[in-house]
């Protein structure tokens, strides 16, 4: 095995740290629920959601049918052959969202690392974020069978206004006398974030926790299909096709490619996380419903060839990431009590041909796995609590996950908070949540994230003296949809 030296130019390490923290700042897209749909359908939030943004079986049907269920006056057009040329809702399905939050880590981020301080990544830790996010939505029908979920978000952390989760889809039902009452739905999805199109709440875009702080340290990496720092998120745009058979079996294939917002175009070496060519994504799920219960189990995955970034040109060898994942979801939706259990496990095989050749990784091949579990309970959709567990494990790599250190003479640190003394991405912990909803469209949340392990260790995990529990986060959120 050709082991690369662990002594690397400080500039390179800073660059990698900076890229990592920029990813943290931008954050990965979080899930949303929208009164646009309530305005369009005339139906209250509790018909499609247990508690937003988690979907009920009816909510999954609404989404898979293309967001087109529409019970308001239409503006129509037809030809002399009675073909419909327009079906536009008389009022647009618009809505807005405001999130105001406060985050506080148990230990303040140290100011001994000038490079980290310069990124401003955790500068808002301990501040009131007003807003954390403010979004506008067009979410609903465009034409018969064609609908969209379009979100535009102002990020209070990054001070940017940009397109957020977007899913445009078309769906059509097919029936046949030989199928009896069984129904086939075929659809197309055009979206900018792998798993945003998914109907279950186990995958990255819509999974638990549905909202969390984006101004605090998070583990250094995670698989591409996870919602953590390593996730591909909105760096991809894709077109896919899906089928939903007998309200029970779901199958989808979507091809993604690089789609970067902002930055220089054509994309050049200043850009990171650029996919080369097409990245296929697949999804299979089976759902069974009985009485007030639903249970779904499924699998999903993706193969991505990504240029290594860090100033490398967008040509030549790439790093190949192959994600294979499994998920399961159970819901009980009672008259007063509601319970949901969520589970997903993502296994990633990394063939780092480009990084290895360029001295950015110690190993040519690594693995990275993430397990996420959550249990949620609500009483009358008004008050509830949730517990989540996450665990990321992966190959050690002293170039991908370098250690931080402190200069004994100057006391200046490098790689503080983001470093890994054990050169390991292993991170785990628990998420505790208490939620109060005075109305169906307002959620007041208290969340606590407790790390048992962070970037490969629990005490002095980063090589500059920080403990994993130092990154524990108290997070208060007011989430208003209107």
């Amino acid at each position: 095995m050709n082991v690369q030296s662990s002594r690397r130019p400080a500039l390179q390490r800073v660059l990698i740290g900076a890229v990592g923290t920029v990813l943290l700042l931008v954050g990965l897209p979080q899930a949303r629920a929208v009164p646009s749909f309530a305005r369009q359908t005339g139906m209250a939030c509790n018909t499609c959601h247990t508690v937003f943004p988690e979907l009920t079986p009816f909510g999954r049907e609404f989404k898979l049918n293309g967001y087109v269920l529409d019970n308001i006056k239409q503006i129509k057009g037809i030809t002399v052959e009675r073909q419909e040329t327009l079906a536009l809702s008389s009022i647009p399905p618009l809505s807005a969202m405001l999130q105001v939050s406060y985050s506080k880590t148990k230990d303040a981020v140290p100011d001994t690392d000038p490079a980290l301080a310069a990124t401003g990544a955790f500068a808002k830790d301990g501040d009131l974020l007003f807003p954390q996010q403010a979004s506008l939505f067009y979410a609903g029908k465009i034409a018969d069978g064609l609908g969209a979920f379009v979100q535009l978000t102002f990020s209070g952390a990054a001070n940017t206004f940009a397109i957020d989760n977007t899913d445009v889809r078309y769906a059509h039902h097919f029936s046949s006398a030989s199928w009896g009452e069984k129904d086939l739905l075929l659809g197309l999805t055009l979206n900018n974030n792998p798993t945003v199109q998914d109907a279950w709440n186990t995958t990255a875009a819509w999974g638990f926790p549905y909202q969390s702080s984006n101004v605090v340290p998070t583990p250094i990496t995670s698989p591409k299909l996870d919602s953590g720092a390593g996730g591909i998120g909105q760096n991809a745009g894709g077109l896919g096709a899906y089928l939903w058979w007998n309200n029970s079996i779901y199958a989808e294939f979507t091809a993604y490619t690089a789609s970067k917002i902002g930055g220089t175009h054509p994309l050049d070496s200043t850009q990171a996380t650029v996919i080369n060519g097409l990245a296929p994504y697949w999804r299979l799920a089976w759902e069974n419903r009985w009485d007030r219960n639903s249970l779904s189990i499924g699998t999903y995955g993706m193969v991505l060839n990504i240029f290594p970034g860090a100033g490398m040109p967008l040509s030549g060898p790439t790093n190949k990431y192959t994600d294979t994942a499994f998920d399961a979801q159970y819901q009980f939706i009672g008259e007063e009590h509601m319970f949901t259990a969520l589970a997903t496990y993502i296994h990633e095989k990394q063939q780092l041909n480009a990084s290895f050749q360029n001295g950015l990784s110690q190993n040519q091949d690594n693995t990275l796995n993430t397990l996420r579990l959550a249990g949620e309970y609500y009483y009358r959709r008004q008050i509830g609590g949730s517990i989540g567990f996450f665990n990321t494990t992966g190959s050690s790599d002293n170039l991908l996950y370098p250690s931080g250190s402190v200069d004994p003479t100057t006391g200046v640190a490098t790689g503080a908070v983001t470093g890994s003394a054990n050169n390991s991405p292993n991170s785990s912990g628990y998420i505790f949540e208490a939620n109060y909803l005075p109305w169906l469209n307002v959620k007041l949340q208290l969340q606590y994230v407790y790390y048992t392990k962070f970037n490969g260790g629990s005490t002095n995990y980063d090589g500059t003296g920080r403990n994993a529990t130092g990154n524990n986060v108290l997070y208060l959120l007011g989430w208003f949809n209107f």
């Binding site: 359908t41 005339g42 139906m43 209250a44 509790n46 018909t47 079986p57 009816f58 049907e61 609404f62 049918n65 269920l69 529409d70 019970n71 308001i72 006056k73 239409q74 039902h173 029936s175 009452e181 069984k182 129904d183 309200n247 419903r289 009985w290 009485d291 007030r292 939706i333 008259e335």
Partner: protein
């Protein structure tokens, strides 16, 4: 005196329903029947199940319900006179843009569907429920449900089918009729003195039919 009053209300209700005569199956053009079937299987089935045989007790089974009853309910959702919580949350929106022709065709479609399977319940409770259904509670002037809903709870005209219906749905309807969240003057008079135990028993009996 009270029983006569209840009967008088039933007769009046039936007369009123007859004046706004629901469409007979022969009246409904084929194109409307097809459109209703399409809507039922692509939209309504998401909650009420294929053919109106719903899975979750939040959503009533519609299969084999009498067409005049379904028509009356859809119109009451559309004009928002039925105002129990689930009606407001789900059905006010769903019925808002339905015209009379579609309402008639949907009601006709569901009335022609084969009924859902029944569900056996606790033997003692089902037996108590059967007694209640067939005899009422004379001591408290609660008439027998069977006198309007039919000996086998199949319903008739504007009186709904109860046989095979989800027990939790039936319990909830009795509750919302008792506290007048759902406007049903005749039924309010009938069920207002039913206890929770009696409600549970009769609901389980009806689900077992």
């Amino acid at each position: 005196m009270k029983r006569a009053s209840v009967l008088l209300q039933v007769v009046t209700l039936a007369a009123v329903a007859c004046l706004g005569r629901p469409a007979l199956p022969a009246d409904i053009p084929d194109a409307n029947k097809k459109a209703a079937e399409k809507m039922a299987s692509e939209v309504c089935a998401a909650c009420h199940g294929p053919g109106g045989r719903s899975i979750s007790p939040t959503f009533p089974k519609l299969a084999a319900a009498p067409a005049p009853y379904l028509e009356m309910q859809l119109k009451s959702f559309r004009d928002q006179t039925r105002a129990d919580p689930d009606a407001i949350a789900y059905m006010w929106g769903m019925a808002a843009q339905l015209d009379d022709a579609m309402i008639g065709a949907l009601a006709d479609y569901y009335s022609r569907q084969r009924p859902a399977a029944s569900k056996p319940g606790d033997v003692a409770l089902v037996s108590a429920g059967k007694r209640l259904y067939e005899q009422g509670v004379p001591a408290r002037q609660i008439p027998a449900c069977a006198s309007c809903h039919g000996a086998t709870a199949e319903g008739n005209g504007v009186i709904p089918r109860l046989a095979g219906q989800h027990a939790p749905y039936l319990r909830k309807q009795i509750l919302v009729i008792q506290n007048a969240l759902r406007t049903a003057p005749v039924m309010h008079g009938v069920v207002k003195d039913l206890t929770l135990d009696q409600t549970q028993a009769v609901a389980l009996y009806l689900e077992s039919l």
